[in-house]
């Protein structure tokens, strides 16, 4: 019985620790490594190797500058092009193979609406 409990206990702890998707930090220091880098900066897409469309999102600081300078992100604006791409509305969906979870897009939106701070 003790061995069964040792296996089940971590899952119980995990389940009891469930949080709302927007309880996560809506900051670039979280959004980049948690969502943008693993989903977009892959070697075949926006990593340094492929650099699709000339866009590299691997490094947090470089990615931030690029998104702001090229106006993929407009601080405070729900009409930021990045959001259209992540939702596949009026533009080709990004990532193209499968959408991001809506909860992740909502967190990116919250960061942008909150001023898109670095």
């Amino acid at each position: 019985m003790a061995s069964v409990w040792r296996c089940v206990a971590p899952l119980v702890v995990l389940a009891s620790a469930c949080i709302d998707s927007l309880d996560r930090p809506a900051t670039w220091s979280y959004v980049h490594p948690a969502i943008i880098e693993p989903s977009c900066a892959t070697p075949t897409c926006h990593g340094s190797l492929a650099a699709r469309a000339g866009i590299v999102l691997q490094d947090a600081d470089d990615a931030y500058r690029l998104l702001i300078d090229e106006r993929h992100v407009v601080a405070g604006s729900d009409a930021s092009p990045l959001l259209y791409q992540l939702e596949g509305d009026e533009r080709a969906l990004m990532p193209p193979d499968a959408p991001l979870p809506a909860a992740d897009v909502d967190l990116v939106r919250a960061w942008i609406l909150d001023g898109a701070q670095p």
Binding site: P25, Y30, P43, L49, A51, R52, A53
Partner: protein
């Protein structure tokens, strides 16, 4: 034909039509072979085939034919040559405003070679890399493919001491971990650090004995060829086999300036000889630290499903997958179900059809169907 012309033709065929022999973990047990290293020239599978592996290619894995190099050539002990050509056609529906994406593209064209002298060997796999989508276009229109460019997935020096059963490797190679599925889109590859071009540079030691494989690797990310974020790590994998069952336990720890992650993984394979079914399941759980944010998150990645071998040269598989990028946030979970069929009408030629449905979060989905033609010289 004069000798130099023959050499040029052979090299041209190998460069233009050669293939990657990737690992096919479903063939363990199903091909009357218990270990990956019996069929492959590497301790953990994948890549060039051994003489035994080439025999299996013609005998048990395909409907027939000669599994030797270019269907006829016996390789000398000091040289192994191979590679692969993979052509693919894809239809992917993500619900995007653009509609379903379609593409026909050369997925892979590689040459692989291994030179050996006694216990020492040098192995390299190199060729053209491609992509399903245009890498240069400002917008990702459907169709077309990325420009071909030279790329070497693996290149390493190996030392294999048969008496002690130890293998040592140094260079760029896949650090053994988990099931090592051929499909790079599978969550247990894509989200565990084994996506496309994510092989690492490192040193590895492996020991292969009758019922047990042990692999230990220390590695750094490929900052030169891929330009990956600098990371260092270690991976360990232990496979224990019984008559028709293998249990694989793995751990992978990586650390870089932006992130650190610990993943622990258990995988099981079980072969049912009567119905000719190979069951495979893998579950990896871990913790990822996002340094700049001062945050951490638990992650889960899973795979489970059977592969049925109804006849020689044919297999059909179904699988269910899970990826929880933050296991506390259920709304970010991804689930997938896939159905695939593989037919190898003759040794060296494989046709694969795969259909995969992904449920992303609570509202989104993607349905991709891909046809692949794979030729191994």
């Amino acid at each position: 034909m004069k000798a130099p012309v023959v050499v040029v033709v052979v090299v041209a065929v190998l460069v233009l039509a050669p293939a990657v022999a990737v690992a096919y973990p479903q063939y363990q047990f199903a091909s009357d072979t218990a270990t990956c290293g019996e069929c492959h020239q590497t301790p953990a599978g994948g890549g060039l085939l051994t003489e035994w592996g080439r025999g299996e290619l013609g005998d048990t894995l395909s409907m027939g034919g000669d599994g030797r190099l270019l269907h006829a050539i016996d390789e000398p002990e000091w040289l192994a040559v191979g590679g692969g050509l993979r052509l693919a056609a894809l239809v992917n529906d993500t619900g995007s405003a653009d509609g379903a994406e379609t593409a026909v593209f050369p997925m892979q064209a590689e040459l692989a070679a291994r030179l050996a002298s006694g216990a020492l060997s040098i192995t390299a796999i190199a060729g053209a890399r491609s992509a399903a989508r245009d890498t240069a276009a400002p917008d990702d229109d459907a169709g077309g493919f990325g420009g071909l460019a030279f790329f070497s997935r693996e290149h390493f020096v190996g030392y294999h001491d048969e008496a002690s059963a130890w293998w040592l490797r140094a260079g760029r190679f896949t650090a053994p971990f988990g099931l090592r599925l051929a499909d790079h889109t599978a969550y247990v590859r894509r989200h565990t650090g084994y996506g496309v071009y994510e092989e690492t540079y490192g040193v590895g030691a492996s020991r292969l004995v009758e019922a047990r494989d042990l692999h230990l690797t220390a590695f750094i990310s490929d900052v030169l060829q891929v330009g990956a974020a600098p990371e260092a790590g270690v991976a360990g994998m232990l496979e224990q086999r019984w008559a028709a069952t293998a249990v694989v336990a793995s751990t992978r720890i990586t650390a870089g300036a932006a992130k650190a992650r610990v993943l622990t993984d258990v995988a099981v394979k079980h072969w049912l000889a009567g119905p000719r079914l190979l069951w495979m399941a893998e579950l990896a759980g871990g913790w990822e630290v996002l340094r700049a944010a001062g945050e951490g998150r638990p992650q889960l990645v899973g795979y489970a499903g059977p592969t049925w071998f109804p006849a020689r040269g044919v297999n059909v598989g179904i699988a269910a997958e899970l990826f929880a990028e933050d296991a506390r946030v259920v709304a970010t979970n991804r689930y997938a179900g896939s159905l695939s069929a593989s037919i190898m009408p003759v040794a060296h030629v494989e046709l694969i059809v795969t259909s995969r449905y992904q449920r992303v979060g609570t509202d989104d989905h993607a349905l991709a169907t891909m046809l692949q033609l794979h030729y191994l010289p």
